[in-house]
Symmetry: C3
Subunit: 137 residues, 3 copies
C-alpha cells in the first residue's frame, strides 16, 4: 500500500488524479490485477468522470440540489460545525474505487479520468491509499 497525498479546496472541489495513480501502477511489480483506491476520511469520495470543468460544475449543481450545504443539518449540532452536507455526499458517493490493471497500465476509457471529490467545506490534505493486488496465483 502506498499513500497518495492530494491538496483540495472546499465545497466539492473536483481533482483529477489519473496520472498520479498511473505513476504508482507503472512502478509496481504487479503487471496484471487490480488497483484499489480508498480516500481516508468521511467527507470525500472517489469515482470516474470525463476531465471537463463544465461537467464538474454540472455535478456540483446536482449535488447542491440533492444535498445543499446551507441546510440546517442535524449533524451540525454534533460538533457545532457546518459540514453535514459533506458527510451525506461522501456516504452516498462512496470512498473507494477499483480499476483493472493490464500490462502495467490502468484500463480506462478514452475520456474516463479518476477524480477525487472533496465534499468538505474547507480545503483538506487528502490521503488516498493505493493498493495493487495480483490477478494470477
Amino acid at each position: 500500500m502506498q499513500i497518495l497525498e492530494i491538496a483540495t479546496k472546499g465545497y466539492s472541489d473536483i481533482v483529477e488524479i489519473t496520472s498520479s495513480v498511473a505513476d504508482i501502477v507503472s512502478k509496481s511489480k504487479i503487471k496484471n490485477g487490480l488497483c484499489h483506491l480508498f480516500v481516508i476520511g468521511s467527507t470525500a469520495s472517489l469515482t470516474t468522470c470525463e476531465n471537463d470543468t463544465n461537467i464538474f460544475d454540472d455535478i456540483r449543481e446536482v449535488l447542491e440540489e440533492i444535498v445543499p450545504y446551507k441546510k440546517n443539518w442535524r449533524h451540525h449540532k454534533t460538533w457545532n460545525d457546518d459540514n453535514g452536507a459533506a458527510h451525506i455526499r461522501a456516504t452516498i458517493l462512496g470512498p473507494d474505487l477499483t480499476i483493472p490493471v493490464s500490462n502495467g497500465q490502468l484500463i480506462l476509457g478514452t475520456w474516463q479520468s479518476i477524480i477525487l471529490i472533496e465534499c468538505d467545506t474547507r480545503g483538506r490534505g487528502r490521503k488516498i491509499a493505493v493498493t495493487i493486488v495480483p490477478e494470477v496465483l
Copy 2:
C-alpha cells in the same frame, strides 16, 4: 470468505459494523491487502460514514426526499409488496465496499466507520460476505 450476520430494523436503519469487520481482519493470515465486503440481497447497502446518529438521520432525510417509501412504485405491482424504494436506494448506493488492510488492520479515517444501510421496509437478518485478498504474490 466468511459470513458476518447482522440483524437490522426496517426503513433505512443504519448499523455500524466496523469492529465486527476488524475482528475478522485481525484473525486473517493476510496482513496486507484488501478487505472486501458484500451484502447479499438487493435491498441493503454498504458504505462509510461518521458514527453519529445525527448524520444517520440526515442521510435518511435525503434518501426519503429522493426515493420516498410511500410513493406508488411500479415494483409494488410485481410482488404486491411495499419495498420499491428499498430496491432503488440499494441499487443507487451499491452492495459492496473494499477497504485497505495494512499490518493486519483496516485503514480508515479517525471518524470513518463502516455502515450497513438496511433499505428494506422490515427488519432483516443480513449476511455480509467478507473476503480478504493479499497484496503481494
Copy 3:
C-alpha cells in the same frame, strides 16, 4: 482480465448480465476470491438489482428526477452534444462492482442480479473488464 461485450440502447437502458459474468467465473482457475467488473467509459455504470422491468422503470424515474436528460447542462457546450446527464449519472453511480466468488460461483442474493446501466443518450457497444483475483496466497 477478460472483456465482456454488451450492446445497449440509450437513455438509461438497464441490461442484466449475471449469467454472462457467471460463465467467465465458472471457467476461471480461481475458485475462491473476488470477481471485479469495470465498465470502460464515462457514461455507464454497474450495480446490482432485482431483475424486474418494473423496478428498472422506477430507477429510470428517480434518475430522471435527479438528473434530467433535457436540462441545458454546461457539458453540452464542451462538445456540442446532448449527454451531460449521462456523465453525471455515471459519475454518481460509479463504474465498478466487485462480487465474491466461492467454489467457482458468484455469491449473490436470490433476487440479486448484476446490471449495466447505459446512461448515454444513444446505444453503445460496451466493454466490461472482468478480473478475478484469488483469496488465498
